[in-house]
Amino acid sequence: MLIEIKDAAFEPYQRLLDYQVSANFAGKYGATAVFVGSMREFNQGDDVEAMELEHYPGMTEKYLQKISEEAASKWDILDSLIVHRVGEMQPNDPIVLVAVWSAHRAAAFDASRYLMEELKSRAPFWKKESLSDKSRWVDKNT
């Protein structure tokens, strides 16, 4: 179970490959469910040129750890990984990576979705979008 906050761009699939090597559980899992959230170049009808992701250091890690532990207690999973970007980012940049490993697929599917929904509703991150003529805080999660 690992939580990472990154203040620079990261490549989620390369991170997964590296994590799987370090986790040393080859052959133990039959299912990996992965979600990657990435920055779109448009939102609410406007082109978005850049985005700033603010967070609450300390509380962020605490809640990501908390929801990871909740998922591990609710489903029979082997491991989970959450990586979340903060700071200045550009369209197409990955924002979040959630991965769950389990013996069978139902647990991985259920737990990965749980992690994303809980992250979106409880982890203290905030997005500010830069449009061509102004910037604005994203005021709710979709």
């Binding site: 609450y56 979040v96 203290p124």
Partner: protein, 80 residues
């Protein structure tokens, strides 16, 4: 005495509206989260949907606070 204060933090749009990121409130001025808000913001009306945390756990406005606590106010979260 530095121990006799409550640490206050504001994040994101709320930080911009309040005009400060950090503040301190004397323990004698606030026994609950909402009193800490009132003292730190000079009785500014709290925006609807404001979220509150004490020592990095979500709480309600009526939650008790004491010296040494870290009280945070922020808008709905939008990560992921």
């Amino acid at each position: 005495m530095t121990e006799a204060v409550i640490k206050i933090k504001f994040f994101a749009s709320l930080r911009e509206q309040v005009g400060q990121a950090d503040a301190e409130v004397a323990e004698s001025h606030a026994s609950t989260v909402i009193e800490a808000w009132n003292s730190a913001t000079n009785n500014m009306t709290m925006p609807e949907n404001t979220l509150m945390a004490v020592n990095m756990d979500y709480v309600e406005a009526s939650h008790a606070v004491k010296a040494g606590d870290e009280v945070a106010f922020f808008p709905p979260v939008t990560g992921g």
